[in-house]
């Protein structure tokens, strides 16, 4: 099948018409629905508004948005000096581990030196 044949087949694709009262029904439903026009304020509103704006433009699954929001939040907090803002207490073992490694290295080095000297 060549390009011209495909184009002519695509041009013959059937059209559909909307059900007769659809526009009317949508307008009627709107009468029963209150509008949600409010100025955005506060932290939560900012993220809810951001999510709605972004999802108007791209398809964005919820988990992707949550992770992106956390990364953005962590980055902004980091800029204001709160470096461990996304680190929970259970994750704070890194300092002890690094201290242990330093002590262990010093011990190994002194062992080595004493062996060389003797």
């Amino acid at each position: 099948m060549d390009d011209r044949e495909l184009d002519s087949l695509l041009a013959r694709r059937a059209t559909v018409k909307a059900p007769k009262m659809l526009a009317h029904n949508i307008a009627a439903r709107a009468v029963m629905m209150p509008q949600d026009i409010k100025e955005q304020r506060g932290f939560r509103d900012f993220f809810v508004g951001l999510k709605e704006t972004v999802s108007d433009y791209i398809y964005l699954p919820q988990p992707v948005f949550v992770v992106a929001a956390l990364v953005l939040f962590g980055f902004v907090a980091g800029m204001f000096g709160y470096e461990n803002v996304l680190v929970t207490d259970s994750m704070n073992g890194t300092e002890e581990v690094s201290t242990f490694l330093v002590i262990n290295d010093q011990y190994m080095a002194s062992q080595f030196l004493s062996e060389v000297e003797s």
Binding site: R13, K17, L22, V31, I37
Partner: protein
């Protein structure tokens, strides 16, 4: 009639009002302005949604959700960004359709459209049957395309949207859109050739 008659767009002046001016009125809570927009866009976006998802019920839900979103949160459309209302609505409709297509991935939904335009009595029954079959095969082939290819094809071939506008709706560059279209057409050529082969076999042995 009462309340239902109250928002029926009847005045020519209103029907000629620009989208921006109607949206400003919608932001002030005027149902009448929303009714005019609904009248203006329902058919167009129903056809677009149907072409994307291939099912009338789903197309109705998509159009309804997109337009009601415009009523409930009119501030989500911001004309100062330089985006036309129809482009913004295409984006919302495309995203809702892609969302639904992904949710039902794996399920096969046969196109249930009412084929129109073949009411001419002069067309003989066998010719009509052949054309119906061709339409069914074409619809099946289009519906089996990946979502973004399908949306790109629909926007450029059937919605009268320019390549630049379609690229904006799909959030890709014009080159990206052209690549989506090329892949869609290549896939369609392959699928339709297979179908035609099958049809030929059916005719010979059936």
């Amino acid at each position: 009639m009462g309340a239902l008659g109250a928002y029926k767009p009847s005045m020519d002046k209103e029907l000629q009002e620009t989208d921006e001016s109607l949206m400003a009125r919608v932001c002030n809570g005027e149902h009448q302005a929303f009714a005019v927009l609904t009248e203006r866009y329902t058919d167009m976006f129903f056809a677009a949604a149907y072409r994307m998802c291939g099912e009338r019920g789903e197309a109705e839900d998509i159009v309804q959700d997109a337009l009601l979103k415009l009523w409930i949160k009119p501030q989500s459309y911001d004309s100062s960004r330089g985006v036309k209302l129809s482009t913004w609505l295409y984006r919302v409709v495309s995203n809702l359709a892609i969302d639904r297509m992904r949710k039902r991935k794996g399920e096969y939904v046969a196109a249930d459209g009412v084929i129109e335009g073949f009411e001419d009595d002069r067309i003989k029954a066998d010719k009509k049957l052949e054309m119906d079959q061709e339409q069914r095969l074409l619809e099946e082939a289009i519906q089996s395309l990946p979502e973004r290819q399908k949306v790109a094809l629909n926007l450029c071939f059937y919605e009268g949207v320019s390549n630049k506008e379609a690229a904006e709706i799909l959030e890709v560059g014009v080159k990206g859109l052209e690549s989506l279209l090329m892949r869609a057409k290549a896939a369609l050529r392959e699928k339709l050739a297979d179908y035609r082969e099958e049809l030929g076999r059916d005719k010979n042995y059936g």
